[in-house]
Each structure stands twice: as C-alpha cells, then as structure tokens.
Symmetry: C2
Subunit: 206 residues, 2 copies
DNA sequence: CCTACCGATCGGTAGG
DNA sequence: CCTACCGATCGGTAGG
C-alpha cells in the first residue's frame, strides 16, 4: 500500500537524486517536444539539454513514447492540483479557465508543448492520439457542465444557448488564441480574449 | 512578358505532363505534411505516394522546404480564387469565413495540413514560420476590417466591441474548432460553430 | 548511467 | 527522371 501523502516515506539521497534527474529530463523533453514536436525531437538532443547521455535518458524512460506521456502526465498532475476544472459550481470552473489562460500566458514552453503536440496528435497513429482525444472530451465536458449550471441559474445571456456548441467554442477560443499568441507574441491578450468571450455568453464576473 | 490569362500560351504535351506530375507530388506532399508535419515527413514517403523516385521529387522541387512552400502557395491561390476575404463589404467577408469553414469541413486533408503545420511553424526556426506569421496578420486584419465596417453601419450587438480582440477571437474559434474536429470527427459542427459565434457579435444573417 | 555499437532512415548529390 | 551513393542522424541494445 502506498504511504499516506501527509506522512511520506522518507526519501533517501539516492531516491532524491533519481527523482531530480528525472525532473531534469522531463524539463528538457517538454522544451524540445514543444519546439519541434514529438516525431522530430531526438533523444540525443533531449539528453544533451539534460546533460546526460542518450542511453541515460532511456535508462529513466524506456522509450521516447513513454517520455512524452510522462511529460504530459506531469503537466496534468500540476494543473489539476492548482485548478479545479471539475467543481460543481459553473462560475468557479469558468473563472478557472480564465485563470489557466492567464498562467499559460506566462509559460511559453507549456503553451508550445500543447499547441504543437496536440496538433501533431490529430494523426491516429501518433502515440499521444488517445491521450488528446480523451483530454478534449474531458475539457469540453467540463465546459459544457459549467455552462449547464449557469443555464439552470439563469446566468446565461441567451437562455436557449446551444450548450454543446458553446462549450466547444469556449475551448476553441482558448486554443486558437494560444496559437496566435505563439505566432504574434506581445500582440495577443490571452486571458482578456477568453474573458471577453465568456462575458458575451454569461452575465457573470470573470 | 507573361501571356494574358485569357489567351494562354498553348501548353505542349511535355509541359502538360510536367505540370500534372508536379500536381501529383504536391497532392502527396500535402497529405504527408498534414499527417506527420513537415519535419517528420520524408521525401521518400512523399515520392512513394506520388509513384516516383525521391530524387524525382527533388528534380521538381529543389528542396523539401521549397516543396512545403509550394504546397501552401497552391492552397492559397485556390482559396483566394474561390473566396473574397479582402472585400470592402464586411458582411461578405464574414459570410466567406463561414463558407470557408464549411468547405474545410469536407476536406480533412487540408485541415490536417493547416492545423499540423501552423502549430509546428510557431517555432521561429521552422521554414514556414514567416509564412504563418504573415498569414495570420493578413487573416486577423481582414476580420478586423470587416468588423469595423459592421461597427460603422451599426450592425454590432455591442457598439463598443474591442475590434482587435474580437477579430482574433473569430480566427481563434475557426482554428480551435478545426483541431477539435480532427480529434472528434462527427462530433464537431465546424461551420455552425463559426456561425453561432458571429451571430453573438453581429446582427447579420450568416 | 556510460561507451560502443546496431540496422534503418534521412536530405541531397553525381552521373547518366 | 532513374540508380547508386554520400555523410549524418535516428531509436534502441549490449555490456559493463
């Protein structure tokens, strides 16, 4: 059985060194996957950035594919820890969408990773294809549930709003603005764009 | 001087064969660039799909980079021939955005190409980086000009709409929905999403 | 976690 | 527009 998170097993110096090394590799991989995508990224370049040999990377992550999934899962864990996109209060969820856009606007590497790899993963043979199909199902469902909550509370500008369409539009605005933000840095206001979109749909403060 | 387009120089059988061969190569390249991106696409695989040797591809397009730009330019020429995104009538321009989304919804290969390569090209070292930076400047400007026209004619829901933000949002909705459409085919209504977005902004029929 | 290595594949060139 | 070839680079393995 795993140790409780409030009384973790003490981490020895060896385990700590391994964990830090893995973090360094994940940092380098996130960076390169974002720059050139998964397929064009080489383990040797990731290894060089992590200051390790390329079989050293494979010692920690058995395959390049496993490394990509580890990068994505680490990021997911980080986001679900800091944001609550599963709350039952729709207003909270929508505010968290804006807050997440705001955080992303200060983390170009993460935005590059998601924009580049999600696009690459539209191909069914891509190793992260299933991951992104599931991810978008979850995110769109979360947006739809939030909007339905607002609809029930009379907080929508148009009470007959097409919730499926609107949920996908909200997610689309976030993704599309991120792409433009990468192409035209300094000219795109990520969080403002999402906020403006939400204000047009709901009579809430975001 | 080039021959007038209404009285073209007669095309000999040799020139015709060359043109058709180039079209075949461009078709194969569009397909593979869309599937795996520019960097991961190989000239050998493109050549195989065009049923030619890979030096044969290079005979027609000197480098892989030149081939990518030729694919994008052919597509641009096709779109600017069939749609008028530079009209001075804002309503026409916005209707053409919807019509273009509708056409794209029947051409998965083209959507894959733009979603995948535009994301990949956010990297400044990508051969199509400048192309996409310019392209988005043009498209966003076109949307902004159209919205400004509507504003002047009192056709906006919110007369104080932030035009820069709204123009980028419109383009973002189109791009974001295309990504979702590739990930969740059959569940995303591309043209409907763009139409719904426009109806929320302007009091026009689209 | 390193060095040395494997077979496969890459973009592009030479020569015809 | 083909065949044959070049040097470079790839993901992953063997052995320590």
């Amino acid at each position: 059985m795993a140790s409780r998170s409030d009384t973790p097993t003490p981490e020895g110096p060896r385990a700590r060194a391994t964990r830090l090394r893995r973090e360094t590799i994940l940092d380098a991989a996130l960076e390169l996957f974002g720059e050139v995508g998964f397929r064009a990224a080489s383990l040797r370049e990731i290894a060089a950035r992590a200051e390790i040999s390329h079989p050293g990377v494979i010692y920690h992550f058995a395959t390049k594919e496993e490394l990509l999934l580890a990068v994505l899962e680490r990021r997911d864990a980080d986001v679900s820890e800091r944001f609550h996109l599963e709350s039952s209060d729709g207003v909270t969820v929508l505010r968290n969408f804006v807050a997440l856009a705001d955080v992303n606007a200060h983390n170009r590497l993460v935005v590059e990773l998601y924009v580049t790899v999600s696009a690459e993963a539209t191909d069914p043979s891509h190793p992260a294809h299933d991951y992104f199909v599931d991810r978008y199902t979850r995110v769109v469902t979360s947006a739809r549930t939030a909007l339905a909550d607002l609809q029930g509370r009379g907080l929508l500008v148009d009470p007959d709003l097409d919730l499926d369409l609107a949920a996908r539009e909200l997610v689309a605005v976030i993704d599309g603005l991120q792409l433009q933000w990468l192409l035209h840095p300094g000219q795109v206001r990520l969080a403002d764009g999402v906020r403006a979109h939400l204000r047009r749909i709901a009579t809430i403060d975001v």
